[in-house]
């Protein structure tokens, strides 16, 4: 489906806002897929689609976090653009979710560009520091924010403006096996997030807690919140009752 330039700009600005809030603006959890998906849907007139796509992608991107200095894939922009394209082109939600993968990588590249573009700001700030010009130093934040806006906006606009007709074209000619494939893949992707979490926290002595959590849920059908509370109780027991001296030193590097 072809969309006009004006409408594409309008949609792009909505989609950009949430990804921008990650770095360039106040982040009130609006970067979480479940939140930004719902809000994008609301603003584009299809709340329900936004809610469901947000929920699905929340699971897909679970555990994908920035570790250390690495920039993670851009789950926020992936969610807003996927929601928008799904609403504009009216394709099946399950299929639309697959769009998130390339968009998230594109959004990640945008952020890498922003981190690079912001580097000279440090040297400008150094110069101002020599003269104690605090106001000018704090004003550099506006530049940083603008850089983050543009690097989010450009990939988003390209996806929305050129993507919508492309997505419609692909969707109309898509064989069943591809949509079956994408459905299977989206179901499995949360395993990656959990796997990454698991390998980050893994130490042999913690396996017991992992087994308890797994069995409580898979076998006894406990709800997630109740098992999380159980985990919190274990954590409190160890925190308050196990003396430090008995444990080996150096968990945190």
């Amino acid at each position: 489906m072809e969309i006009g330039l004006g409408y594409a700009l309008y949609v792009s600005i909505i989609c950009t806002f949430f990804g921008w809030s990650n770095y360039g603006f106040v982040n009130f959890q609006t970067t979480q897929p479940v939140v930004c998906g719902a809000l994008t849907g609301l603003l584009l007139g299809d709340f329900k689609t936004g809610i469901i796509i947000g929920g699905t992608l929340q699971l897909v991107y679970m555990g994908i976090v920035g570790v250390g200095a690495a920039i993670p894939v851009n789950k926020t922009t992936a969610t807003t653009v996927t929601t928008a394209l799904c609403i504009i082109t009216k394709i099946d939600m399950q299929t639309a979710v697959a769009l998130a993968v390339p968009v998230s990588v594109l959004g990640q590249l945008g952020r890498m560009a922003a981190w690079t573009l912001n580097t000279p700001l440090m040297h400008i700030a150094d110069k101002y520091a020599e003269k104690a010009e605090f106001k000018k130093m704090t004003r550099l934040q506006l530049v940083g924010s603008l850089v983050f806006f543009l690097t989010e906006f450009i990939p988003v606009f390209l996806c929305i403006y050129f993507g919508s007709s492309f997505v419609t074209m692909v969707n109309d000619n898509m064989p069943v096996w591809i949509s079956e494939w994408l459905k299977a893949a989206t179901g499995m992707l949360p395993a990656l997030g959990f796997g990454m979490l698991l390998s980050m926290m893994y130490k042999p002595k913690y396996i017991a807690f992992f087994i308890i959590g797994f069995v409580m849920c898979a076998v006894f059908g406990g709800s997630l919140l109740s098992i999380a509370l159980l985990g919190a109780a274990f954590a409190m027991i160890v925190y308050f009752f196990v003396p430090t001296a008995k444990r080996k030193k150096g968990g945190a590097a």
């Binding site: 699971l59 550099l140 849920c217 430090t244």
Partner: protein, 280 residues
């Protein structure tokens, strides 16, 4: 002696609740606006305390020294910035009230030592604890969202913000009140290690529960072998429910531990899903 003390008290520069609240708002609202590959959050750290430095150091020479001091490398998890930030505020306040001399120089140098010694461990805690907390909040809210209910989004907003601002405010005020004592306490009692361990235990329990709830991978296909119908999923469920998602997750965790990048693992999942969807 006592007269001098009273005189000193009158000239004492102190930070008000308002100054501290302003810093809190600045570092929680704008932790990463100028983040970059060279010095990461450095400028944001300076911006968060800039009004405090202005207040404490009326003369230009001190201001320049303070600005330069805070342009040294800093990077940590935004949630946990409150810890070093609070100590910095306490230290700067102390520095401003000291006469120029050895003691003051030593304290000035310790500002960056404290920042540098905290940012690594805090980022370590932050990365795994935040991932765990957000995984739990995310999974709870996704459950509602997949049924088409907006409660999911509301839940993520409320719980996520409560966590983010709660940790930020508590750690900031706690470490401002206790100053350098926080570091001594941390070293003596192994406070960071303890938090890390407790967080990991919560995380491991939760991940164990998340896998059977949310990994969509089952082999529910009947295979007809000469009149005998084999349902692989039912057989697996007899061993233990959720075995297939568990195996997939542990396998991916193992590959990730072997330093295979997450993007390659995404590609692997897509290939595997293709084979899987064609066979089953």
């Amino acid at each position: 002696m006592s007269e001098r003390n009273i005189e000193g008290m009158e000239n004492q520069k102190t930070l008000t609740k308002k100054d501290l609240t302003r810093t809190f708002v600045k570092f929680t609202f704008f932790p990463m606006v100028t983040i970059n590959y060279e010095r990461f959050q450095t400028l944001q750290y300076f911006c968060a305390v800039s009004h405090i430095l202005e207040k404490l150091y009326p003369n230009e020479e001190d201001r320049i020294a303070a600005a330069k001091r805070h342009m040294a490398f800093f990077n940590t998890t935004p949630e946990w910035m409150g810890f070093p930030m609070g100590i910095t505020c306490a230290q700067e306040e102390q520095i401003a009230n000291l006469e120029k001399g050895e003691e003051r120089t030593a304290l000035e140098e310790s500002v960056n030592t404290v920042k540098a010694s905290l940012m690594g461990p805090l980022a370590g805690i932050g990365d795994s604890l935040d991932a765990t907390i957000h995984a739990i909040i995310g999974a709870l809210s996704a459950g509602f969202a997949l049924n088409g209910s907006f409660i999911g989004a509301a839940l993520a907003l409320i719980l996520g913000n409560a966590y983010y601002f709660g940790i930020g405010y508590y750690s900031f005020m706690y470490s401002y009140k206790n100053g350098m004592k926080v570091i001594r306490d941390m070293n003596k009692t192994g406070l960071l290690d303890k938090i890390m361990e407790a967080a990991t235990i919560l995380g491991m329990t939760a991940v164990g529960a998340l896998i059977p709830s949310w990994v969509g991978f089952n082999l529910a296909t009947n295979i007809d072998i000469g009149g005998y119908v084999l349902n692989i999923q039912a057989e697996l469920d007899n061993i233990i429910p959720g075995l297939a998602p568990l195996a997939l997750t542990v396998f991916l965790a193992w590959l990730y531990k072997k330093n295979i990048s997450s993007l390659k693992l995404v590609a692997f999942i897509f290939v595997f899903a293709l084979v899987f969807s064609l066979v089953f």
